[in-house]
Symmetry: C2
Subunit: 296 residues, 2 copies
């Protein structure tokens, strides 16, 4: 089976799992359930849940125990996009060719939908912890790690510095901070959370953390490269948007060849470490190669 | 010692505890730590942590174990105010005589500060659950309950229906939904969360849930009454704001006398149930009387 077919199957599986965790019961607050479902189902590659699922598989063998966390990590990712699109932030009317949540449901509901998705992610995870009595510690540990990497010491921290850096020339240290926090942190949360729920030992958790960090950073540098080398038809969004938005990129700060070299080094190290960790990490390695050498 | 002096002492204690849980370490994301601290420290009566603390005291006897939850519940309350004040929502420039968070730090940081406070509340609670190994189940249960009452089935659900009901005449059923969810739910979360971390049995948790529901509803009806009967000097905020904002109130739907009767009945029932539950609930009963019969 080709990688593309396998990936599509996984995405379908993730969509079914996430859909199963969307809130269903409602009374007068029905609109927010609709806007949450809209924000989740308009698309997305489901990279975070797939990375979490595949990492879980290296350690655990009761896959249903990771399901609530797959839904939660995608809800956290979605909430961040819904709030990012608000007029106060990036002010985007479209995402993946569809109206953004606040354009479809109004700005007040845009704010509340993001809040609701973030809150519901923790509602799902707390409930999962309660139900998995034998593995409560591992599940709470995963939830704690995810909260840490989603918050001010992770994604939100990166967003703050990203906003402050607009229209400024920043140094490599600042750009690395943004990349590490804004993007890489949630990819780390996905893989490390998967390992924790799977019951990985401390040493393996550290190895996964290290691997995920490298994948996350390489993923974001590739994003910077695509922004200047791709064309809009392939990328599905405007190219050169970083330059237009006066955002500093790796390409700008170290040049395109050096950026490619860094990606190669990071991804080789991540793949070597994955092979060392588990002989059966084939699909995870394929995903890493896909993420890092993707054309869009 | 007078009730006022006792209350002030408790508020001071809560401020110290909450301050101790505000994030301290920062790198480039320092601004968001400042805006979080600002949003928390500009004021507030600390009712939710006080209710939680006092309820905890009826059951538990290692008070430090409730501290992280006190900070978390106040952060959740604060985040909801920060987002409520945004231009997309109530568009308020001042709260308690001070600039609202987005007016002081900019609108983008207003959105992110709310997100950060909500996320950090769960970061603190998850960490607390990990550290309290002997009581992990009770702590996770409290966190799950808090997340439920803060989300679409609680506070956020109430906010959504509140927004949809502006400039409309609504029926009593809808108004009760708003009151129960927007305000009462987080007061319930405070008291029930306190009981759970304190190790209350299932029956006592149910009793507290029932008591907290009545207190929360009475508290909000009193808010509706104060909006028409108080004057601005006493209330510290404009009166008749509900009418100006075209919001339906209890007073409008059932009349002022019937509203007062409902408050009396709810609070008497809550106080009787508290007495039955514990002979030592004196201060909690005083707080209930203060909340329900307050002048501002």
């Amino acid at each position: 089976m080709s990688f593309d077919t396998k990936l599509k199957q996984k995405q379908k599986k993730m969509n079914e799992i996430i859909g199963g965790f969307l809130p269903k019961e409602s009374s007068l607050q029905k609109d927010i359930l609709d806007s949450m479902a809209y924000s989740i189902t308009v698309g997305g590659k489901r990279l975070r849940p797939i990375l979490m699922y595949e990492t879980y598989q290296l350690f655990g063998n009761h896959e249903k125990e990771i399901y609530p966390f797959l839904a939660a990590i995608e809800m956290i990712h979605s909430y961040s996009l819904v709030h990012d699109d608000l007029p106060a932030m990036d002010n985007d009317d479209y995402r993946r060719g569809q109206l953004t949540t606040h354009k479809k449901f109004g700005e007040a509901l845009g704010v509340l939908t993001g809040d609701a998705l973030l809150n519901y992610a923790f509602e799902i995870m707390s409930q999962a912890c309660l139900e998995m009595k034998d593995k409560m510690y591992e599940c709470v540990q995963a939830m704690q790690y995810i909260s840490h990497k989603a918050g001010i010491y992770g994604m939100i921290g990166g967003q703050v510095v990203d906003i402050q850096s607009e229209n400024k020339s920043i140094d490599l240290k600042t750009l690395e901070f943004i990349h590490e926090h804004k993007t890489a942190a949630l990819l780390e949360a996905s893989m490390v959370g998967g390992a924790m729920v799977g019951g990985a030992c401390e040493e393996d958790i550290k190895a996964i953390q290290n691997i995920a960090y490298k994948i996350g950073l390489a993923f974001q540098i590739q994003d910077d490269i695509l922004d200047v080398t791709s064309d809009m038809k392939v990328l599905g969004k405007p190219v050169n948007s970083d330059k237009k938005n006066n955002k500093s990129t790796y390409v700008q700060l170290v040049g395109i060849e050096a950026s490619k070299d860094i990606i190669k080094q990071l991804s080789n190290e991540a793949i070597e470490a994955l092979k060392k960790l588990d002989d059966n990490a084939h699909f995870l390695i394929e995903i890493v190669e896909y993420l890092i050498y993707r054309k869009k």
